[in-house]
């Protein structure tokens, strides 16, 4: 596990040392590939049995392995896509070699901090990793601030809001430590493995307070409404590969882990109700903003808020079925959301605008890109036959089984609004006449020349589209088994 954590750090240093703008992307990709290979063995091992290292400071079970695999997937895709994206930025003079070195260095540090969060056994160590993700990714969002003044605004909002939020999570951590140390003494009272053993004995009043602080704190980082305000700014201003990594699964992972410790003492209904309320608020607010949105990158980030809300809702409804739906949703979103940010990055590079009204006829001028965007938009909107539809349906079924008809009704209503909003927004961009010469409506940038980088970038996007389509028809056996193992590890049976 230590090697897996060290590889991104080494890659970061290597990338920072490379001085050639042509090779730096491939160095980063090579480092990423080594990481994926090394992590694959670790993931396979921890799916079979929990893995401990460094005197139990690091720990992985099926759930950490699942989240780590998803994180590695989107990080790998972003590393591939970064090559062509940065090449294009370099050629148009938006970034220089110093900026590229900083970008790749920070990118791999970001990967390291994300992996640290899922590999940490200690609650406070996980908090340290989480705060580090905020700091590193704020720098990535604000990168190249001389040419993109709005990015400074976005990065500022991001780091201030998330730091305040995460400070509350630290208070929650302290309170948990207080509750746990009165049961087991001071040694190792913050380890997940110890806490889950004594979860039922913790003081319910104290744990309720701790959970509220944790949910607000990590909920800010996860992008749950009403503390989601940083997310649309950050995702619309960050470089496209970085938008695909935000907000990531780190904070949601923490909430899930925490839930497993808190609910045995407080009862499932307390934690479940809080998550359902947060989830429904997120879905509702996101739906309203999606419908009125005129910027397609912001539209996508409100869709991220919506999907976070759906996942919180599924976990809040609870039971094996609710958890299953949420974890499956995580998988579907891991493919669809980065894909959409990648394609919209390409559209932005081609049309030079993020305004929906300025983009038209993507389908006829760039058929492949148009088709991928269309499939991605359908998947994100939750239409059948895609994976996200299956997971949303599972969550609906969980709600119906528990007789939560009001929750089900509200969810269905807002899901329909989101469906309309996403498809009408992207429909306007994809279809229509590309040759319309109405000022900003025409193609303002030349075609991007074909290089190894663009071929790789397109390859990863095609692979993601294919996965979305395939997993809409069937959930592969090993994924089904993994999700069931996760539910067992979280104790939701």
């Amino acid at each position: 596990m230590l090697t897996v954590l060290l590889i991104p750090i080494i890659t970061a240093v290597l990338c920072y040392l490379v001085k050639s703008p042509r090779f730096i992307g491939y160095v980063s990709l090579a480092g990423m590939s080594v990481l994926v290979v090394a992590a694959a063995r670790l993931i396979a091992a921890s799916l079979a049995a929990p893995v401990y290292e460094l005197q139990e400071a690091l720990f992985m079970d099926a759930f950490s392995a699942y989240v780590m695999a998803l994180m590695l997937f989107y990080s790998f895709a972003a590393a591939v896509y970064s090559i062509s994206y940065l090449q294009h930025e370099f050629e148009t003079g938006l970034i220089d070699i110093r900026g590229m070195r900083r970008y790749y260095g920070l990118f791999h540090l970001f990967v390291f901090t994300m992996l640290l969060v899922v590999a940490a056994n200690n609650l406070a160590l996980m908090w340290i990793g989480m705060e580090a993700t905020t700091i590193v990714s704020a720098l990535l969002i604000g990168l190249g601030f001389h040419k993109r003044p709005l990015a400074v605004e976005a990065a500022w909002k991001y780091i201030v809001l998330c730091t305040v939020g995460i400070t509350f999570a630290l208070l929650g951590t302290f309170i948990t430590y207080y509750a746990a140390s009165s049961v087991v003494g001071h040694e190792s009272a913050l380890n997940w493995t110890v806490l889950s053993g004594i979860a039922a004995k913790l003081n319910p009043g104290t744990m309720k307070l701790a959970f509220i602080f944790m949910l607000v704190g990590y909920g800010t980082k996860a992008g749950l409404a009403p503390v989601h305000n940083w997310l649309p700014d950050a995702q619309s201003q960050a470089p496209s590969p970085i938008s695909a990594l935000l907000p990531g699964w780190t904070a949601f992972y923490a909430i899930m882990r925490f839930l497993a410790i808190v609910s045995p003492s407080t009862g499932v209904s307390f934690t479940g109700n809080l998550l359902v309320i947060f989830g429904l608020i997120s879905i509702g607010i996101a739906a309203i903003f999606i419908v009125v949105q005129d910027n397609y990158k912001r539209l996508l980030s409100y869709s991220s808020v919506e999907h976070m809300g759906i996942m919180a809702l599924g976990v809040g409804i609870g039971g094996p079925l609710g958890f299953y739906g949420s974890l499956l949703h995580m998988l579907g979103n891991t493919f669809a959301k980065p894909l959409m940010f990648f394609t919209s990055g390409k559209i932005q590079a081609r049309f030079g605008s993020t305004n929906i009204a300025n983009v038209t006829g993507v389908f006829s001028s760039m058929p492949l890109l148009g088709a991928m965007t269309f499939i991605g938009a359908l998947a994100l909107a939750g239409s059948p036959p895609f994976n996200i539809f299956i997971s949303e349906f599972t969550i609906l079924k969980a709600a119906a089984d528990k007789g939560m008809w009001l929750v089900l009704g509200i969810f269905l209503f807002f899901a329909a609004v989101v469906f309309y909003g996403v498809l009408s927004g992207f429909g306007k961009m994809l279809f229509g006449d590309p040759g319309r010469e109405s000022g900003a409506g025409s193609l303002v940038r030349p075609r991007i020349p074909v290089t190894v980088g663009t071929v790789l970038g397109n390859g990863i996007m095609i692979a993601m589209t294919a996965s979305i389509v395939v997993m809409g028809f069937t959930i592969p056996q090993f994924i089904d088994r993994t999700i069931r193992a996760c539910i067992a590890a979280l104790g939701a049976n």
């Binding site: 160590l125 709005l150 730091t163 630290l170 208070l171 913050l190």
Partner: protein
């Protein structure tokens, strides 16, 4: 030493000092005074940790006190001073509301905290007041963050909030293991440096460090 500390209830004196340095933020007009108040606040916090270390005879608390002084009491103030010099700002804080009103609201916040944590669920070891004071400091600094315009005041509010948080954590659990505390302090230090970088950039890009200029991104 121990006897002397107990007779004169030094712990309560220090805790009240921490609260007062936070309350004074409401009255200050210049960013320099904020930094001075923060430095005093951090030294008091470290002093409190050391005193409790003497009282309960825990040697790892001395280590925590030294770490707190080094980062919060020395390093972070130096960094903030350097940022202030680099920004060459007009040193006024320009609050949205008057100082009198601001002070009154802070007073109400303290009262509310004391009233609501009266018969709380927490049984803390060394002082009846430390937890109440820490929550009050957190609330006051949040209040400062939302009512002041400048980017740097926001950073100062955040720093005060973290001090309050450390006090809360300390009064609940006698501090975390030293290695964890080291990691948390390191994160905070990096956070301050990066907030400083962005504050300088905001000043450069928007030709002002007023946060009400940051209104382009919305909806």
């Amino acid at each position: 030493m121990k006897h002397w500390l107990e007779t004169y209830s030094i712990i309560d004196f220090i805790s009240v000092g921490i609260l007062l340095t936070a309350v004074t933020l409401n009255a200050f007009k210049s960013i320099e005074s904020y930094v001075k108040a923060y430095t005093i606040n951090s030294w008091l916090l470290a002093g409190l940790i050391a005193v409790v270390g003497v009282l309960v005879n825990e040697s790892h608390l001395y280590m925590a006190a030294v770490l707190t002084v080094l980062t919060k009491g020395v390093l972070i103030p130096i960094i903030i001073w350097r940022i202030i010099r680099r920004m060459r700002v007009a040193h006024e804080v320009t609050p949205y509301i008057s100082n009198t009103l601001s002070l009154a609201i802070s007073g109400i916040l303290v009262a509310v905290v004391y009233a609501s944590l009266q018969g709380g669920i927490f049984v803390t070891g060394f002082s009846r007041d430390a937890l109440q004071i820490s929550i009050a400091v957190i609330l006051i600094s949040l209040f400062i963050m939302i009512t002041r315009k400048k980017a740097l005041t926001m950073v100062m509010g955040l720093l005060f909030m973290e001090n309050g948080l450390f006090l809360a954590g300390f009064s609940l659990t006698f501090g975390m293991p030293t290695i964890i505390e080291l990691g948390v302090l390191f994160d905070m230090l990096m956070g301050v440096i990066i907030l400083g970088i962005f504050a300088v950039q905001i000043k450069r890009v928007f030709a002002s460090a007023d946060l009400d200029k940051l209104t382009v991104l919305k909806g």
